[in-house]
């Protein structure tokens, strides 16, 4: 083998290795970026999550994040057409509020719909009436909901049902966000975390 071919092979191998490193770094970065705000609680992605919304509550009154300044917010997204997960989550939040006792006075539980088409303030009122009376049901125009979901880095998507167009479902992030007195991200919980875990997590922060 000549020195020239040897150099060529070494250069080729080095190039390949460099390409591999770049590809690896890119895939890790891309992967993390795709999940940012969904499962990661690292400081870089959590800084992106903030409580920022202009919506209407279940009585039809306009309500915005500024109305909760100084208060902690327990925020979760869902929709009333969901018969399984959403009532379970609302029940969890009701139990959390009860278990918090007097600590609950500084926590505002906010249920934001991802289905503004069907969830009018009247529908939200009927729905939240079945749970803890402190839970505030929020809806708005599709644009307002989109903006609120973006602020919380919440994903939602209409899952069409070709057999029954009116019976569409909504895929959505099912996290409970604990937001601080300035609307900043503090912590999050999974919708299937038990009440004790969520209560302990909130007490640790507030």
């Amino acid at each position: 083998m000549t020195a020239r071919t040897e150099r060529l092979i070494i250069a080729f191998a080095a190039g390949l290795a460099l390409l591999g490193i770049v590809f690896f770094a890119f895939s890790v970065f891309w992967h993390d970026d795709g999940r940012a705000g969904q499962t990661s609680s690292s400081s870089s992605s959590s800084a992106l999550i903030k409580s920022d919304f202009e919506l209407v509550d279940q009585t039809g009154s306009p309500i915005a994040d500024e109305d909760f300044k100084g208060s902690w917010q327990l925020v979760f997204f869902g929709f009333t057409y969901c018969p399984d997960i959403c009532p379970t989550t609302l029940d969890t939040v009701s139990a959390v509020m009860e278990a918090l006792g007097s600590d609950a006075d500084s926590v505002a539980p906010l249920f934001i719909t991802v289905d503004p088409e069907r969830d009018t303030p009247d529908v939200m009122a009927d729905y939240v009436a079945n749970f803890d009376s402190r839970i505030i049901g929020l809806t708005g125009s599709p644009e307002q909901i989109k903006a609120a979901a973006q602020a919380f880095r919440v994903y939602y998507n209409k899952a069409e049902n070709t057999d029954a167009p009116d019976d569409y479902s909504m895929d959505h992030s099912a996290f409970l966000y604990l937001m601080g007195p300035n609307g900043e991200y503090v912590s999050h919980f999974s919708h299937n975390d038990d009440v004790e875990k969520i209560v302990a997590g909130i007490r640790e922060k507030i």
């Binding site: 057409y81 018969p83 399984d84 997960i85 529908v123 009927d126 079945n130 899952a159 919708h191």
Partner: protein, 156 residues
């Protein structure tokens, strides 16, 4: 008028059915056992409701749940709630496999029976008649007890 009469008749029929079927607990047909069917109360008739139960197949051959019907719902589907990367999805299941010597548990946060086009609101304390149509075992009629809308476990 006729429509109202029909609706009234259907409600009566539903009531008769619900009282005729054994309330809750276990219903056995052949190798198949249906344990503690229950449902959640609905918000009026415009929102779907969910029902849950456990099906045991004591037989040596697998069976399949092909469909669920109810006189109180125009459209009934079996849905699976799944979670991936924190995103919840509901996926309709065409059939529900019931493995031999196996048990399938429909419970909040997982697989559930979704009842749409409700003919009347599902009220807490009442009963919801369900017809389970199985490939091998045939039709099994059960009566699901209705708990509160926030219920997470079967009503007492």
């Amino acid at each position: 008028m006729i429509r109202r009469f029909c609706r009234g008749l259907m409600s009566l029929l539903a009531l008769a059915l619900s009282t005729a079927a054994t309330a809750g607990e276990i219903k056995q047909v052949g190798d198949i056992e249906v344990d503690t069917p229950w449902a959640r109360a609905s918000v009026g008739t415009s929102r779907p409701a969910a029902a849950y139960l456990t099906i045991r197949n004591a037989g040596d051959r697998a069976d399949r749940l092909l469909a669920v019907e109810s006189p109180l719902a125009g459209h009934v589907m079996v849905h699976a709630s799944t979670q991936q990367d924190g995103i919840m999805k509901m996926t309709p299941l065409d059939v529900l496999d019931l493995p031999a010597q196996g048990e399938v548990n429909l419970a909040p946060g997982g697989t559930h029976i979704m009842l749409m086009d409700l003919q009347q609101p599902l009220e807490e304390g009442r009963e919801l008649p369900l017809r389970l149509i199985l490939e091998r075992a045939g039709v099994i009629e059960v009566s699901a007890r209705i708990g509160s809308l926030a219920a997470r476990t079967p009503p007492d």
